[in-house]
Structure formats: C-alpha cells, structure tokens
Symmetry: C2
Subunit: 342 residues, 2 copies
C-alpha cells in the first residue's frame, strides 16, 4: 500500500479551512500549516478548520519550518495578488516542493505578470517542481470549461461566458467584496479601483492562448448594481439607491473583432443565477448550468482535486489548460465528508 501523500498549507482563511477538510476526507495527510493570524498559531489544524477531530498538526508562524518537514506538496491560499503571493510561492519552489495556489492572478499569469511568471517557471524547472494556480474562477468556469467545449469544434468565432451569482446566498466576505450595502460614491472609491472579482483577464488570456489567438486589445468594465427598492437580504439590508453588488466584464479583441466576452454579475437578489457559455462556431454550442456552481468550496475542490495531476506533471509553471482535467477522485471513499458550505 502506498503511503498517503503529505501536504502542508499556507493560509487558513475560509478557503484554506475548506481545503484542510476536503484533503483530509480524501485521505491526504496534513503535516504542516502556516498562517499570519496570531490567534491561529499553536492551535491544532483540525480545530482551526472546524473538523471534529484533531489532526496532530499545530499552526506555525514560520514557512521555513513548515518546508523543512519536506511535504510532497504545498497548497497556498493567501491573496489574489501574484506580487504579494510571489515570495511565499518562490520559497516553496526553492525548497523543492510542488505548489498549488488559489492566487487568482496565478491562474494565467503570463499577461499581467509576465516577468514573475517567467521567473517562477525558470526556478520551478531548475528545482524540478510544478507550480499551478487554480480555483473555480479563474481556473474552471470561465477558462477550462469553455476550452473543453471547443474540443468538438471545427471553428470558434466567438466565446461568451457568463457567471450570474445571487450574492444573497453567499457568505459575508463575498458580499463585502462586491460592495453590497455601499453607497455609489463608496463603491466608486473602493470596489471600482481594484476590488470586485479578480480573474477575468486571467481567464480571457488562458482561453486565447488555448485557442492560439493573439489578443491585440481588451476592454474592461466594472459598475455597481443599484437597489431600485429597499432589499432585505439574508445577512444585510440595503436601502434604495445603495449598492446591491456589481457587474464586471472583459472583452478580448483580435484583428478588430471581439472574440471573447466574459461577463460576471453578482448582486443581492439576482434572479436566475447560472453559469452559461455560448460558443458561436461550427457547431454553435450553448451550455447552461442553472443555479451556477458555488464559489469558495468549489475553489477548495479544484485545488485538492488537482493534487494528483500536479504530482504527476512535468516541472515548471503550468495552468489548467496544460493538465488533464481534475476529477473528484476518491470521493466515494469511506471518509468523513465535511459540511459543504456556500
């Protein structure tokens, strides 16, 4: 019998906690974890993640000590910004450990952070490790899934990907991220300048690269969805004229034609939430997932379900389009399945 793969975790936020549970369910062995929150330090990993049992692993403050234990793979779940995540990921690479990260900007970093991407790839190859950025979005819904749908196609003329989320069903930090409850002025001062969903550009460029298209021009927009009437939400109430959430979009152009359009809408009370792909081509394919796929737990699943692929992959920086599809492998196993939290 093969020994269980040994994992360590960087960052125990809500997604990190989900990752602990799911990987434990999947029979991976946690051997270390690090977090900047002093309140988590010294506590047992099972306790911090809300598991019923202790895992016999204490949360550390030092990444160096965690890496000295030589885990088979590190899952990294701290920030969206690759610039901020870069030193943490590079420390793992230099320690010779494979990395799966939920940092959104790592999902396809060659455009926004080409220099960092090149250095990561170079160092990963030099240290014979694999580095992957993944998540449900970016990493699946707006990039891997539409690319998968092009497999049976002769031609793709245009790709539209829509994600429509009823934010009222999501947890507080998500509602905060999309500006729910803010005034329009506050929204414009905070969310419009670097807030909201991170990943549209990463998805757009992954799709373009996957299809061999050169994008010569992009357009991006972000705007508040304003309450036309008072809205009484599950977690917060929003007055008329205040912000319910947002609409974001990114369009990619090649030779003057729009060829990729990504549309992300998330606000309180959004009706008919869904994930939807319209591929205009030969053949034209419309795909709908009514209700859509919930976010945070799905990102945890993408990270854990990618472990086998990353351990088997060649060295270097890779993206979801470079690996076999991740699968809910072993989900039938006799495990203590944790609660699935939206």
């Amino acid at each position: 019998m093969k020994r269980a793969r040994r994992l360590s975790l960087i960052g125990i936020g809500p997604i990190g906690a989900s990752i602990i549970k799911l990987a434990h369910n999947r029979k991976y062995q946690w051997i270390g974890a690090v977090d900047i929150d002093p309140q988590k330090r010294g506590k047992d990993l099972g306790q911090v993640a809300g598991l019923k049992r202790k895992l016999g692993v204490q949360v550390e403050s030092s990444l160096e000590r965690v890496l000295q234990q030589k885990p088979d793979l590190v899952i990294h779940s701290t920030v969206s910004s690759l610039e901020k995540a870069y030193p943490q990921i590079m420390e793992c690479v230099h320690a010779g450990v494979d990395v799966i990260s939920t940092t959104e900007e790592l999902a396809y970093p060659y455009q926004r952070h080409n220099e960092l991407a090149k250095r990561l790839d170079q160092q990963a190859k030099k240290n014979n490790v694999t580095v992957l950025g993944t998540g449900v979005n970016p990493g699946f819904l707006m990039d891997l899934l539409p690319l998968t749908l092009t497999g049976p196609c002769w031609e793709v003329r245009h790709l539209l990907v829509e994600r429509r989320i009823d934010a009222d069903l999501r947890r507080g930090p998500f509602q905060h991220k999309i500006g729910a409850g803010l005034s329009v002025v506050e929204f414009n001062q905070t969310i419009s300048v670097g807030g909201g969903h991170v990943g549209l550009l990463e998805s757009l460029y992954m799709v373009a690269a996957g299809l061999g298209i050169t994008i010569d021009h992009i357009e991006e927009s972000i705007e508040p969805m304003i309450a036309a009437a008072p809205f009484n939400g599950r977690l917060i109430a929003v007055d008329k004229g205040k912000v319910l959430g947002l609409r974001q979009s990114a369009q990619g152009y090649s030779n003057g034609h729009e060829i990729i359009s990504l549309s992300f809408a998330a606000f309180l009370g959004l009706e008919n939430p869904a994930d939807r792909i319209v591929l205009d081509g030969e053949p034209t394919i419309e795909m709908v997932i009514p209700g859509g796929i919930p976010g945070d737990p799905a990102t945890a699943a993408m990270a854990v379900n990618s472990i086998a692929n990353v351990l088997a992959a060649s060295a270097g920086l890779v993206t979801m389009k470079d690996l076999p599809v991740p699968r809910a492998m072993g989900s039938w196993a006799d495990t203590e399945v944790g609660p699935y939290e939206i």
Copy 2:
C-alpha cells in the same frame, strides 16, 4: 518557422473525409492515406474528401507503403470494433508512429478488451509512440465532459448522462445504424444483437476509472422506439408500428448502488434533443446543452484537435482523461474552412 506536421489517414469514410478537410484547414500536411475501397484507390485525397483543391496525395491500398513515408502521426478511422482495428493500429505502433483512432472500443479499452489494451500499451511504450482513442461519443460527451464537471466537487454520489438525438436531422448511415424503418422483428434480429451506438460501456468505465470507483455490476439495455403514427422523415418515411430508432442505456453499480447511468436516445422525430449531465453530489450540478452536439463532424474535430496533445504525450496507450483537454486550436487561422456537415 516550424514545418507543418505530416499526417496520414487510415480509412476514408464520412468521418475520415471530414478529418482530411479539418486537418487541412488547420495547416497540417497530408502525406498519405489508405482505404480498402478500390474505387478510391489512386484518386487524389482532396478529391475524395470533397475539397476544392487537390492535395497531391494518392489514396493507397497498402498501409505498409503509407507508413514507410514516416508520417508524424496517423489518424485511424475504420471500424468500431477494437478486435478488427487492432492489427491496423498495431502496424502503426510497430512502425513507430503515433496513432489517434476513432474506433469506439479504443476510447477506454481496459474493460472490454483488457488483453488487447495491455499489449497495445506495452508495444506503444516499447516503440515510443502514443495511442489514443477519441471521438465525440465515446471520448467527450459521456466521459470527458462529466469528468470535467466533477473538478469543482467535494463529492459525487451519482452521475446521469443523457444524449437525446433527433435522428431525422442526421445522415442516412446514422439512421440505418439505429434501425430506423425496420420492423420490430428485424430490429430485434439485427440492432439488438450488436448494433446501435457503440461506446456506452467505454464511457462508463472511463468515468469510473477517472473517479476511482470499482464497478462490480453493470446493466445494459437496448430497445426500439416504435412509431405510434406514420412518420414522414427528411430522408425516409416510417409506417405506424415500425421502428423510429432506439433507446440504449448502461448503468454501473458499486457496492450495490447505481452510481453511473448513461442514457442514449436517437430516433426520428425526437423532441427537445439535448446533451444533459446531472451530477448528484456536493454540489449538485445540472448541465444542459440544448440541441446537443452533432456527432460525426464533432468526432472528426476531436481527432484533429487532439493531435497536439498526442504528439506531446508520453509513450503508451492513453485515454481522454489522461491528456489536457483538446481545443479548437488555430481555428481562427486564415484557412479554407470546409462545410460543416451534420
């Protein structure tokens, strides 16, 4: 500039002809082709495929001569049965040439033809070539696509995959394959015993293997869809009481529970054709492609769109779950796009 990859083709039926066109559009170079039909021999490949131009390649009767030209990859499109296709594929393997085949039973051959699969894998590794079976079904709709949808899942309790085809929109040979126009007695004597759609078991076992499930029991069914009233089709008319087409299904059980159910319905006048996946799990995901994805041209696309992945893959027998997703790469290129035939 890299030289174009050089391809050869075994079998120029309707799918083979589509493969010639699409690969030509994608700037691959055809250097050889073989077919058993004496009427095709000596003719130009472009002419046989219905292209507007000649390709300067004559259809051969000898596979040996085609392989002596050392193509980079052979696309094989002759029969559904792996036993029949095996000698042809093995000849390519021994010649040291990568193979992509549309032979349905090769899509996941480890169950129905475990011995042949083992020998193919062994010889492929020995000769440093990759062998892949692919197509739209099996190879995509009922295996790769549902596996892809498990990526964001914590748990999968049950997978239902439905393919519903209005056979009236399909070409004659397809209508023939599903028994359209036969009497019930004729259907039972021909289609019920080895006719109909080939690939349900291959898809079922690929999904099971992809999810790490051991299937201990399967059930299969095939039954005619009988006309309750006369049906006047696009190509044929069917009297009341005669066969419009069929329904086929396969269910896989593990530990006494049904966990995978594949349902294939194809008959004249079927309403609301669609491809549909219902994944009961955490989360539960329903995915619908209204209208469904047309068959034969999509199989040609899967074969051509897999070329880059197969050329880059490790040696051995592989299936769609082992490779990155195929993509309609280069479909924006400045090419003469052939007609997309249903």
